[in-house]
Assembly symmetry: C2
Homo-oligomer: 138 residues x 2
DNA sequence: TCCTCATATATGTTAAAGTGCATATAACAA
DNA sequence: TTGTTATATGCACTTTAACATATATGAGGA
């Protein structure tokens, strides 16, 4: 299930793109995705918040739009996130089909490192014009 | 405790070297270290085997000596491994002071991906001249 | 239609990571 | 001492990843 896109690309597309060996595929792919600060924080933030649009993640992490967009695209191609369009916004959330152990690793990381999302969470709640979407719950 | 070397370098040396931001330090450093196949497999192998010398890890992962040596050195500088010299061999093992959550992440990764160490374990047990050291247990 | 906002992506550039090869160091044995 | 084995590291090179900037796409409103 990991690595399948709604575009119909096969499992392992991203792994192949990243020239990973067969065996270490999933786990290595997962950790490569966690090995960049914006991607790590995006995943943890989405774990905590459930669903966010690109502009909210941009604001929470205080980073440029193309930067965040490209990192989210990578996470989506890797099968860690799914997106849906809601009007002019694109909402991202964790792929519910993600391996349980990966979800647990994210959760543990979040619990053990509460400081990581301190500033992002504050910036998020400080957004004056925070959009409201349907079914924003986790 | 993580990031302290026996050489006395301060916590965060590796993080600073890698130009990481303050906040995401430990967790990000950890995942950066897992994001390379030889380092990931070395950590998992040491988790499983307890203690191994460089030549055993080389053989298990079927990689060159300088390559393995460098990756192990990075893991040691990051505080994830400790080493001890036993005669002409240098033995590596997981740093017992590693954060519990990191140890748990490694363990879970190992349990959920048994195939990862299949070949390395086989190559290890196939070593004809496998050295025996004192206190090889985990 | 035209305009605006939100998001995605193409392109060129820079920085970082990984690697092979050669060599250095360290322990041991003869 | 010399030679051998095990490990570490300096250096040059290749590959990969991240980035800024500019532009494209797509939805909604006037």
């Amino acid at each position: 299930m990991i690595g399948v896109e709604k575009t119909g690309n096969p499992v392992g597309y991203e792994a192949q793109r990243q020239n990973l060996s067969e065996g270490a595929g999933d786990a290595l792919m997962f950790y490569k995705n966690l090995a960049e600060e914006n991607r790590l924080l995006s995943l943890l933030l989405l774990k905590q918040e459930g669903e966010l649009c690109v502009c909210e993640i941009m604001e929470a992490l205080n980073q440029s739009q193309p930067k965040i967009s490209r990192h989210l695209a990578q996470l989506r191609r890797s099968g860690l996130l799914v997106d849906r369009r809601q009007g002019q916004w694109v909402l991202y959330r964790l792929n519910p089909d993600m391996h349980t152990w990966m979800q647990d690793v994210l959760e543990r990381t979040l619990i053990e490192n509460p400081h990581l999302l301190e500033e992002p969470s504050r910036r998020l709640s400080d957004m004056s014009t925070r959009p409201i979407f349907c079914s924003t719950s986790a």
